[in-house]
Symmetry: C2
Subunit: 281 residues, 2 copies
């Protein structure tokens, strides 16, 4: 995975005019209650489908059956159907849906597209980092990214390499990368908590493992209460309506789990927005 | 009211670092289901307080008592209190709260700040148009603006003058500008409907009347159902959570009440976001 593959993915995506170039909003740190020079919000929750996921899928661009676990939100399932996918809801968590997907693939001979552990998918996710750098007129000092299976952080770290400090954030209750680092290799973890719907992969992807070992120094954990507080803060103070998974960056700043320098420009990747808005009330 | 006063207001506002520079999001028309070259979304619902209103108030910058009618949302009242205002909830609709405010002002001798019919307030609102032009690297072809008392459209029209086509949009159930044009002068109207909370002024302001007569050709009306449809579309398709008042521009495009040219760049002013998110579910 390198910048060339991400550039190629960006060209393919741009040609189709389906994926949106989401806003990058630069704010003084104080606007977010953070003592640093700037906070950049990459508002990727405005992406088609409410998530960066389309960047990888459109880099493949095929008719599809999508396998999701019963823990996935009905909003998300409805959205997938609306976009033309045949949706199969099966298994309690991500890993079980993946198993069903693999069985179906063997039977049908269809092309298998992994949710995060596939080069095209990671390259597609990397286009988000390329977009941040273009819109920001340069790389930020640091990028705070939520990690589930690791497809997004792999793409972002592959793009920035050492030019920005890419920080991995995970819920304490879904710590795939953190557990892998402790074990010295990817291992299965139990997943639960407020962000299990979107960050609830059972194991960090092999591609993400390899890339993050090279380019990501910090792997930090956040308790559910801090994630939920940050999610509600984003709505109440910023009128940004997003899932818990989108709030880990702000939670890390508000709790001090990540402490930027005074002159730092921190970028938060805000994604996704497949939530029941009543949960913000 | 001229561009110089708006420039001066912008400098005062910038010096205080409280008002946010909200994102301008440029999209191809097709992303909004509209057959025109570009739609620019000025995401002013992300402004401090969820609305452009702070732009005018900070151009004054004083301790205050705020008078609001009982129709105003509890969310909005809570937000005002949080920002340090003493909030007086009185009267059924805007005009009655204004009466109580005037009585209190006579008694206290405090400086009266009108919600829309005051030069400083209009100049503050105009900074939003200046910001659009700066961020857009030029003026759009047209700007679609929701009208209540007219403070926002007055500021926007005073900034753009004839350099962009400024279009006034009102709910059929709160038609202050439309009724004034019919009568040849500002007149009282009955107000009700989905946007009465934020667009429910009883009469167009004198400043807005004067400026819109010079610079605004189109005064268009929208039924509540179209406004509500557009509000829900913004949430479901764009993940933008806003009040009905913020959706009039999209409603005008979706219903064909306003039909842009094929090569037109249309800017929608999206404001505000003081809503109960459960109303989007």
């Amino acid at each position: 995975m390198n910048r060339g593959e991400i550039e190629a993915a960006a060209r393919r995506i741009e040609a189709r005019e389906f994926i949106r170039r989401t806003p990058l909003w630069k704010l003084p740190g104080t606007a977010l209650g953070v003592e640093c020079a700037e906070v950049w919000l990459k508002l990727e929750q405005f992406q088609v489908g409410g998530s960066f996921k389309g960047r990888g899928m459109l880099n493949l661009g095929v008719k599809c059956e999508v396998f999701v676990p019963t823990v996935s939100s009905p909003m998300k399932q409805a959205k997938l159907r609306e976009l033309g996918a045949q949706v199969v809801v099966t298994g309690a968590v991500y890993a079980e849906a993946l198993e069903a997907c693999l069985a179906r693939q063997q039977q049908s001979g269809a092309l298998l597209t992994h949710a995060y552990d596939q080069p095209e998918v990671v390259a597609g996710a990397g286009t988000l980092a390329r977009e941040i750098e273009g819109q920001g007129a340069g790389a930020p000092d640091s990028v705070l990214v939520s990690v589930g299976g690791g497809g997004l952080i792999a793409g972002i770290a592959a793009w920035f390499e050492q030019r920005a400090r890419v920080v991995a954030l995970e819920p304490e209750l879904a710590p795939t990368l953190h557990a892998a680092r402790k074990a010295g290799e990817p291992v299965d973890v139990a997943v639960s908590g407020v962000a299990a719907d979107s960050l609830g992969a059972k194991r960090i992807g092999a591609i993400a493992w390899e890339i993050t070992q090279r380019h990501v120094r910090d792997s930090l954990l956040l308790p559910d209460a801090a994630i939920r507080d940050a999610q509600l803060w984003l709505w109440k103070q910023m009128k940004i309506a997003v899932e818990p998974a989108a709030a880990l960056g702000l939670a890390a700043l508000h709790t001090g789990v990540y402490r930027p320098r005074a002159d730092e420009k921190v970028c938060l990747v805000i994604c996704g927005a497949n939530l029941d808005p009543a949960t913000l009330a």
